[in-house]
Amino acid sequence: MSHPAAPAAPAAPAARHSDQPRGLASWLTTTDHKRIGLLYFWTALSFFLVGGLEALLIRLQLAQPDGRIVSAETYNQLFTMHGTTMVFLALMPLSASFFNYIVPLQIGARDVAFPRLNAFSYWVFLLGGVFLNASWFVGPLFHAGRLNVAPDGGWFGYVNLTERQFSPGPNIDFWVLGLQILGISSLAAGFNFIVTILNMRAPGLKMMRLPVFSWMTLVTQFLVITAFPVITVALVFLLFDRFFGTHFYLPEAGASPVLWQHLFWLFGHPEVYILILPAMGIVSEVLPTFTRKPLFGYTVVVYSGVLIGFMGWGVWSHHMFSVGLGPIADSVFSATTMLIAVPTGVKIFNWIATLWGGDIRGTTALHFAVGFIAMFIIGGLSGVSHASPPADLQQTDTYYVVAHIHYVLFGGTIFGLFAGMYYWWPKMTGRLLNEPLGKLHFWLTFIGMNLAFFPMHFIGLLGMPRRIYTYSADLGVAGLNLASTIGALLIGVSVLVFLWNILRTRRHGAIAPNDPWGGATLEWSIPSPPPVYNFSVIPTVVGRLTRWKTEFHEPMRDPPAVPPAPIHVPGGSWWPIVAALGLPVLALAPLAHALWLALLGAAIVLFGVYRWAFEPFEV
């Protein structure tokens, strides 16, 4: 069954290819998923640099025993903000930039299901990130006696350290309120992309023909909408304890600080799959393109992603093996954690089988995709050792875990994201990133990353806990720490190379054709960058590898360069950004002890939402 795509009776004149709106107002009101994708990208990249700077300061402090680079208070803020920034303001939004830009193209849609909600998600993210990072500078407003009052309770904020009694200042308040704002952004995007992927696919695009990146995006969004409510509740409890004198986590009232850990990790473990699945999806796209072979075991790769999503709900207490849950609980969570290694391993083997027998073109994107596999194997294996509670009792809360998480998050997610950047840069910007510079970026990153994080396995096993601003020379880990710091500095250099590549490409990058790589999926069937309406004619999909010739079908014909009939494209809207602005105002109210701010913030949100609801806006 196929339908023409254009709706009847457009209210606005049809847009022409050249009708890209210009000017600041057009960006503030944009509802175009491509522009929103770019906004996410640049904002997330900026926060990635901030988080990276925080990491460098941490490593400089730890380069020697009894370091004096930063004070204890500042160090505790640095590692808290490094984790919080990287997870919520860098990695998730970088993935979101690809969800936004690429998923509608991969499914043959003109935009997402709810374009204004999409814009709202972005503005809320930006405002949340600014709110959180404002804490670096606003100490004097709180009579703190110092400039920086950034959150300092760790990215995981364990109570009762983060209760008012032990963290009296505004630091944790910024953390709680900032995360609540960011949660709204993620939830809104979650609903949007679930409906988009399920409901807006082009004719012929059955679910089992969906590109793996779009599949993993779908699973990720289901994880988002189920996991974020749990941390929302956990944060509400902490907020109430800190501001309204409740006792949700206070032992003196009979409550348990461990409740926080359960709620946090019920969110936190699905969160790590939220962080890795999109990158796994990217790898699953890049490998077939640059081996000129289909993904080996598509069905298995998709199902294992879905299975990981479900099973990810059953392992949370493996973050709590030292809490004393008892041998039965420890055994159960150990078993479920080991079990989840199986579908994860299956993906790795399928990727290697994709490469096997292929015609491998060593583009930078491919380098990062292969690097992902190599690094994720290491991170996965150290994860297996964590799955054994008695062994974990020596590893948890030491640098061994820091090694594990950075192998999977840097060697995994970040490598995957870089692969996506090099792969989709031409589609998103119309220019190709420079390949030699890209290879340099890759190798510097690869060496730097391994130098920074491999020694941490040993540092941890030799007894250095994590989250300590200094350590004694007696531990004997000074040399390894110095090596790790050098690795971190090398990563810094590699990022500079990447930034240079981006800058250079703006002016001198090779102009990209529709399909620079010979891709099999729909995004390669249209110009780079695509026209505002994406597809001149919504294509009919003939198979998983719809643009390739396969034993099942001829290659699909790409849409014509010019649309046969005018295509209506919705205009922008002010209401998403207006509604979004109400949220930080609302969040300021507890910080400023000002009820009127809460009322004002709520009023702004209500006003924005009402105008949004009654605005004539046709998708």
Binding site: A72, N76, Y158, N160, L161, F166, P251, G254, P257, T291, K293, P294, F296, G297, V300, S322, V323, G324, P327, D330, S331, S334, A335, M338, A341, V342, V346, F349, N350, I352, A353, L355, W356, G357, D359, I360, V370, A374, I377, I378, S382, S385, S388, P389, P390, A391, L393, Q394, T396, D397, L462, G463, P465, Y469, L475, G476, V477, A478, G479, L480
Partner: protein, 333 residues
């Protein structure tokens, strides 16, 4: 120690000796049944992990080298999958994991903190940022340095007076969280006399990095001697000595609000000082117990341990006063 384990230990130690050693907080030198049980388990997992690592990474490496693009390569065969392979590489890891899971569950139950009825009971209470130890059967209250007899079972009950900490002496076993309102137990039997360092392993605030500890495993006679000393009152100060002046200063200063010296003061906010002179370290394992460190610590603790509740006196102590207090503290053996 079995030869295989020794070989691994030697190779790692050799590899690391270039970076410095010995390693007083290493998890790889187990000195108790608890630690040995963990180490055996980890060794097994390590070898499995190494084998998988070598196999898979080698296959990956061979693949990307062998199949890299060369001119004139024909188009690759479009393989979509292979059911038998999928089953094989699903089952194989699952089987390996069984070899990890079974010893894991065994060790979980073996190290679940059960100790025989005649085990020595030590209560550990974590504070920001020091460790309180009580021996209820022996009537001893001390801090930061725990003494236990070699070869005898010890049951440690761990809790906290404020935030969540974690008690960890790597050579003697894994860590357990110290949670307010909850008691966690570990049990171990140390197998070698020695001095084992550890530190708090759960982020607990400003001076988490400075919350260190020692566990001293004594021979039977040495332990009994320590018990005798600890149960007794504080050592007396010679009349007219600097230490005697220090005692008098101590007794009329704010020190007594926080510290206990049996017969002199009853403070419960800071560590007991009744026998502090006999400890090897001060400030929760931070510094050696010598005059210069004691002097700096007493003069201005927060400068050395950020956030410390042992705030500087106002007006600050004179150097002379500090010297008398140092002498007094050192006399409290």
């Amino acid at each position: 120690m079995p030869p295989r384990q020794g070989l691994r230990l030697i190779s790692i130690t050799l590899a690391l000796s270039a970076c410095g050693g010995p390693f007083p907080q290493s998890t790889l030198h187990p000195r108790s049944d608890f630690a040995v049980g963990i180490d055996r388990l980890f060794t097994g997992i390590f070898w499995w992990a190494l084998a998988v690592f070598l196999l898979v990474e080698t296959v990956l490496l061979i693949t990307i080298i062998r199949f890299r693009h060369r001119e004139g390569t024909p188009a690759p065969r479009a393989t979509h999958g292979h059911t038998v392979m999928e089953i094989a590489w699903t089952l194989a890891p699952a089987v390996i994991l069984v070899f990890v899971a079974v010893p894991t569950v065994r060790t979980i139950f073996a190290t679940a903190g059960e100790a025989p009825a005649d085990a020595l009971q030590v209560d550990v209470i974590g504070h920001q940022w020091w460790w309180e130890y009580k021996y209820p059967e022996l009537g001893i209250v001390t801090a930061n340095e725990m003494h236990v007899p070699v070869g005898k079972p010890v049951r440690v009950s761990i809790t906290s007076a404020d935030v969540i900490h974690a008690f960890w002496a790597p050579a003697l076993g894994g860590k357990r969280d110290a949670i307010p309102g909850q008691i966690n137990r570990i049990a171990f039997r140390a197998d070698s006399v020695g001095d084992y360092s550890g530190q708090c392993a759960e982020f607990c605030g400003a001076s988490h990095a400075n919350m260190r500890l020692r566990v001293l495993v004594d021979s039977g006679p040495a332990f009994r001697a320590w018990v005798e000393r600890e149960r007794g009152g504080p050592a007396p100060q010679a009349a007219g000595s600097l230490a005697e002046q220090g005692r008098q200063l101590f007794a009329r200063s704010a020190c007594i609000a926080c510290h206990t010296v049996a017969g002199v003061s009853r403070g419960a906010i800071g560590p007991s000082l009744t026998h502090v002179g006999g400890r090897t370290t001060i400030a929760a394992g931070l510094f050696p117990n010598d005059s210069s460190h004691l002097a700096r610590w007493i003069a201005n603790a927060p400068a050395l341990k950020p956030g410390s509740l042992m705030t500087r006196m106002a007006p600050p102590l004179t150097d002379a006063d500090v010297a008398t207090l140092v002498a007094y503290v050192q006399s409290l053996k």
